[in-house]
Symmetry: C2
Subunit: 134 residues, 2 copies
Amino acid sequence: MKNTIPFLFAINKTNAVLSRRLSGHGLDFSDFTILYHLNAAPEGKLRRIDLADKLGLTASGITRMLLPLEKLHIVERDASDDDARARYASLTPAGKTLLQDATATIEMKTEDFFPETSEDELAKFIKLLDEINK
Amino acid sequence: MKNTIPFLFAINKTNAVLSRRLSGHGLDFSDFTILYHLNAAPEGKLRRIDLADKLGLTASGITRMLLPLEKLHIVERDASDDDARARYASLTPAGKTLLQDATATIEMKTEDFFPETSEDELAKFIKLLDEINK
DNA sequence: GCGATATACTTGATATATCAATTAATTAAA
DNA sequence: TTTAATTAATTGATATATCAAGTATATCGC
């Protein structure tokens, strides 16, 4: 039997530590994640449910996370042409600028996170995590 | 420059997914983590601040997490002999029983998480995460 | 085409964590 | 040795997520 539990503990702890360490520009790490995914998406927009899936959150969680970002005009909200239930989220120009700044900060803060881990190993770990996330 | 950010996203998402998937016996995954660490500690007890460190939380967070567990007589609270500021947390007999049950459930649920990952790789991954957590 | 199901999203009630401030005790330092 | 700095824990105010329930729209099966 594989010793999975300590592995889960480590993920849990890393998450807690990162959440506290990687905030800046008025954004916490989850906010940053949202901005990043919106920017990377085709046409720069995502349905709220797809955004929820990218973060592993519920639809409800995304509704609540987007609220302050919309209020600050960092993210905007659009109807969908082909599905009246769906709403798109996308970055405003201010949101794009903010994302650039936040990305620079986070890249700086995380630069030395894995001094001895190769790009290959990192990719393998991501694949492993994605396996769980399915 | 290493592509660290997608790795952080994956951790974040796995954490969210696990938190939702691995609850049972009235415990969420963080509760389970607390019980597990208390049981594994020398003499079955830990100072609250050390418990916080194990989970990567703040002292405040631990105070609040322990509250309902103490109320339900799963965890109990003791003074320290040599430091009047510190309080120990430890499992009650009911807490130990509950931990056993919860462990069985979680092991069952996570059994097939890494079908193709060796024990070695898992250990390497844990080491990598611990590096970040320091 | 129409009724049953499923999907996208929001809201109310609640639980979980944070930070900043506070209290109390310990340790360091002058 | 008594003042200053640090540490452990708690609390108030606040932010983040959950689940369950509800609304509106889409889709599936017949």
